[in-house]
Point group: C2
Chain length 142, copies 2
């Protein structure tokens, strides 16, 4: 029987976060001690590890919910899990492409700045005028 603190340490998840996962139904309600404190077992430890690892790979809580759902039905075909992972991969690739364009632009800005007065600052100048950009970038909402 594990306390929430132990679970927290074992998975690198903050105590508050574990309770939050319970609140939104991602973690099941655990058993309680006589005094009302949460007590976990190994199945719940595994579940939380799964969640955390998925988060590290960038999956949204909704996607994780689906994945957990799927893993509860071992006899179904795994196309869905595969599709979720592919979607995630696609998102990551899109984000990388955007970041690449941003990096190019930022590098250019920084390199062109010669360290004079604000009035002549290339950084501000570029920010002022999108038309100076050589790449298409569109990070907002990424």
């Amino acid at each position: 029987m594990l306390t929430i603190g132990t679970l927290s340490k074992k998975t690198g998840t903050k105590v508050q976060t574990i309770r939050y996962y319970e609140q939104i139904g991602l973690m099941p309600e655990p058993g309680r001690s006589e005094g009302g404190q949460r007590r976990y077992d190994n199945a719940q430890l595994d579940r939380l590890s799964f969640i955390r690892h998925s988060r590290q790979l960038g999956f949204s809580l909704d996607a994780i919910r689906e994945l957990l759902d799927l893993s509860d039905h071992p006899n179904r075909p795994c196309d869905e899990a595969d599709a979720i992972a592919r979607r995630q991969l696609k998102q990551v690739e899109q984000r990388m492409a955007r970041l690449k364009a941003l990096r190019t632009e930022l590098k250019r800005m920084v390199h062109e700045c010669s360290g004079g007065r604000i009035a002549d600052c290339r950084v501000l100048e570029v920010l002022r005028d999108h038309s100076e950009c050589l790449t298409e970038h569109d990070e907002i909402g990424a």
Copy 2:
């Protein structure tokens, strides 16, 4: 004199977002029509363009506040603006590195999935067991 809707279209910013920027003090309070509707001039259009473009390049609203502040004092040296941009560049590079590791892992997951049953799904298996990962990834909070 521009209405908020016109400003919205010209900058690709939602009306609500413009009002939000005003609320947090990033945009100045504009003049008003007799009936109390907001009326903007070209200086404000420029300011909003600056904000939007900076957002597209991933600057935080706080960073933008600093940058706007700087650009109001054209005679100061531009080290600060330069430093902000460099900081941003560094962040972008860190995020790219993280995404790269994620992509590797996701690709591997997806490629190893042979499309059978959930029980044998590599995607879920990898998510279950971090130790199978070949790269260090740590996307949370990125």
